[in-house]
C-alpha cells in the first residue's frame, strides 16, 4: 500500500475515532433509554406544577358557593372555567378567588348568539334584546343563574 493511502486512511480513522469518542461523551446519559430521545425528558415533562386544581379543591374553602352552584343550571360549568386559577390559591382560604367581572362580555362568551351553538343545551340570547346594557349579574347570580335578584 503506498504511503499516501496509508496516511490518509490513518487520518480518516483518527478522525472517525475522535468523532465517535466525542459522540459517546456528549450523548446525554438517559438517551435511548426508551427510544431515540432523552429518557429523563419524560420526568421533566411530568415535573411541572398544575395550575388547575379542580372543583373539589375550590370547595374546601368555598363550600357555600359550590353547593349553591350544584343546585342550579351552572352545575356543569366548573369553578375554574370562570375563575382562572392562581398557583397558590390552594393554601389559604383568606385569599379570594381570582376576580371575574360578570359583565355582558363575560357571559356572552357562552351565551352570546351564534348559529353554531343553537340546540346544544346552552341557551342563546340576543343580548341587546335581553335587558339591554345591564350587567348580567345585576339580576342573575353567576353561580346559580336562576337565583334572580329581583
Amino acid at each position: 500500500m503506498p504511503k499516501i493511502i496509508f496516511r490518509l486512511l490513518f487520518s480518516f480513522v483518527v478522525f472517525v475515532g475522535v468523532f465517535i469518542l466525542i459522540q459517546r461523551s456528549l450523548k446525554p446519559d438517559s438517551f435511548g433509554e426508551y427510544g431515540h430521545y432523552r429518557g429523563n425528558s419524560l420526568n421533566d415533562n411530568k415535573m411541572r406544577t398544575p395550575y388547575f386544581k379542580g372543583e373539589a379543591k375550590c370547595a374546601e374553602c368555598h363550600e357555600d358557593v359550590y353547593d349553591m352552584k350544584s343546585m342550579d343550571l351552572h352545575d356543569g360549568v366548573r369553578c375554574e372555567s370562570c375563575h382562572y386559577p392562581k398557583i397558590d390559591a390552594n393554601t389559604d382560604c383568606e385569599v379570594g378567588p381570582p376576580i371575574v367581572k360578570g359583565t355582558i362580555k363575560f357571559c356572552a362568551q357562552c351565551h352570546g348568539i351564534n348559529a353554531a351553538r343553537l340546540d346544544k343545551g346552552v341557551p342563546q340570547l340576543v343580548l341587546k334584546e335581553h335587558y339591554e346594557n345591564q350587567n348580567c349579574i345585576e339580576c342573575h347570580n353567576p353561580h346559580a343563574p336562576w337565583d334572580l335578584k329581583e
Partner: protein, 398 residues
C-alpha cells in the same frame, strides 16, 4: 421580542382567508432560502469540475481548479445559514451527536461531512499535493508553514507519486459525482418529504433541486472565471466559455422541463390542494415565480444562449452576454429556492388561506445577514485563490 410580536401583528393583519393560528409566524425565512441556494452552488460547481475530469471535456480545463475551489469556499459556508437560523445555535452539535435516523435533516449532517471531508478536500488535496511540496520549498512565511502541514509529511515528487495522485484523484472524482448528487438531492428531499405541505411534497423535488443546483453552480463558475481572468488580466479562453454556456443551456432545458413536468402533473391531477396552489401561483408568488424565476431566470437565458448555438456574434458581445446570463440565472435560481421555501409556507396547511412574508433587515434572519453569507464565500474564495492559485500549478492531471 416586542419587535417580533409587532411583526406578527402586522402579518396577522395581512392574512388572507383562514390559516391555523400557529402559522402566522413564518418559521423558515431567508436563511433557509440561502441554505439550499449555497449548497446548490457547491454541487453545481463540483459537477462542472467533474465534467472536465471524468467526462473528459478537455476544453473546460481552465475552470477545473477554479470550480473546485469555488465549491470548497461555498461549502464552508453552506451550513452556517442553517445554524444561524436555529433558535438554539449552540445546540447544533446535537445533530451529529444523536442524529435521528428517520430525519432528513439529521442525515444531511453526515452527507455534508462526507462531501466536505472525503470528496472535496481529498480531491483538491490530490490535485495539489505535488504542488504543495514544490511550493513549500519556494515560499516563505505563513504559506510555507501551511504547505508543509497540508502535505501531511509526504514529500515525494517523483513521477510515480504523481501517477498515484492522479489515479486516486480520479477515483475520488468518480465517487464525488454521486456524492454531489446525493448532497443536493438530499436538500431537495428535506422539502420533498414533507407530506404535510402540498407545495413541497413531490417526488420530483430532489431531482429538480439537483438540476437547478447544476444550473446555478455552472453559472457561478462561469462568472467567477470571467471575473478572475479580468482581474488577472489574462485572456479569457473563449472555447471554454462557449462550452460552459452550452452545458448551462442543456441543463437549464432539463431543469425547466422537470419543473414544468412537476407543475403540469399538479395541474392535471388537480388534487385537493390544487385550488389553493392555483391562487398561490397567480397571486402571492406571481412576481417571484413567473417573472423572476421563469422569465428572467429561465426563458431569457435559454433564448440568449440558444441563439448563440446557431449564430455566434463577436467575442465581445458573447462575453457580455454570458456575464449577463450568468447573473440572471443566479438570480433566477435564488428565486426558485425562494419560491419553494417561502412559497411553501405562505399557504396554510388548512388549504384555505395565506399568510404573508415580511422580511426584516437586521437580526439573524435579516437581509444583512443574508448578504454576509453570500459575500463571505467570495472572501474565502479569494483567500483560497491566493493560497493555492490553480494557474500557478506545475502539475496537471491527465
Amino acid at each position: 421580542m416586542e419587535e417580533h410580536y409587532r411583526h406578527l401583528y402586522e402579518a396577522l393583519s395581512q392574512v388572507d382567508g383562514y390559516i391555523y393560528p400557529n402559522e402566522i409566524d413564518l418559521h423558515w425565512g431567508l436563511m433557509i432560502v440561502l441554505y439550499p441556494y449555497i449548497t446548490g452552488l457547491v454541487a453545481g460547481a463540483f459537477i462542472l469540475a467533474s465534467l472536465e475530469r471524468v467526462f473528459n471535456v478537455k476544453v473546460l480545463k481552465p475552470t477545473y481548479g477554479l470550480a473546485l475551489l469555488t465549491a470548497l469556499a461555498f461549502l464552508f459556508v453552506a451550513t452556517l445559514p442553517l445554524v444561524s437560523h436555529l433558535q438554539h445555535p449552540l445546540r447544533a452539535y446535537e445533530i451529529l451527536m444523536t442524529p435521528n435516523p428517520t430525519s432528513a435533516m439529521a442525515i444531511f449532517g453526515f452527507v455534508y461531512l462526507w462531501y466536505l471531508m472525503v470528496v472535496l478536500l481529498l480531491e483538491i488535496w490530490f490535485d495539489y499535493r505535488l504542488d504543495f511540496v514544490l511550493w513549500s520549498k519556494k515560499s516563505t512565511g505563513f504559506k510555507k508553514y501551511f504547505y508543509k502541514i497540508i502535505t501531511l509529511g509526504i514529500h515525494d515528487t517523483d513521477e510515480k507519486s504523481a501517477k498515484i495522485d492522479d489515479k486516486l484523484g480520479y477515483f475520488i472524482t468518480v465517487l464525488g459525482i454521486p456524492s454531489a448528487f446525493l448532497l443536493h438531492g438530499y436538500v431537495g428531499f428535506i422539502f420533498g418529504s414533507i407530506k404535510a405541505n402540498p407545495w413541497w411534497s413531490s417526488v420530483l423535488m430532489p431531482v429538480i433541486f439537483l438540476f437547478s443546483a447544476m444550473v446555478s453552480g455552472i453559472a457561478l463558475v462561469m462568472i467567477i472565471y470571467m471575473v478572475v481572468s479580468w482581474i488577472r488580466k489574462v485572456k479569457i479562453d473563449m472555447p471554454c466559455l462557449d462550452t460552459i454556456a452550452k452545458y448551462l443551456f442543456y441543463i437549464l432545458i432539463i431543469d425547466f422541463t422537470l419543473e414544468s413536468l412537476d407543475q403540469i402533473h399538479r395541474i392535471y391531477e388537480a388534487e385537493e390542494s390544487f385550488d389553493i396552489i392555483k391562487v398561490l401561483v397567480s397571486g402571492k408568488l406571481n412576481i417571484t415565480l413567473l417573472v423572476m424565476q421563469v422569465i428572467l431566470g429561465t426563458i431569457i437565458p435559454l433564448i440568449i444562449i440558444g441563439i448563440f448555438q446557431i449564430y455566434k456574434p463577436s467575442e465581445k458581445i458573447r462575453k457580455a452576454a454570458y456575464f449577463f446570463v450568468g447573473i440572471i440565472v443566479l438570480i433566477g435560481i435564488f428565486f426558485m429556492r425562494w419560491n419553494v421555501v417561502i412559497g411553501g409556507q405562505l399557504l396554510s396547511k388548512s388549504l384555505s388561506g395565506f399568510t404573508s412574508f415580511n422580511a426584516v433587515y437586521s437580526g439573524m434572519e435579516g437581509y444583512l445577514m443574508a448578504a454576509v453569507w453570500l459575500i463571505l464565500p467570495l472572501f474565502i474564495l479569494t483567500f483560497l485563490l491566493w493560497l493555492m492559485p490553480p494557474w500557478k500549478k506545475v502539475t496537471t492531471h491527465e
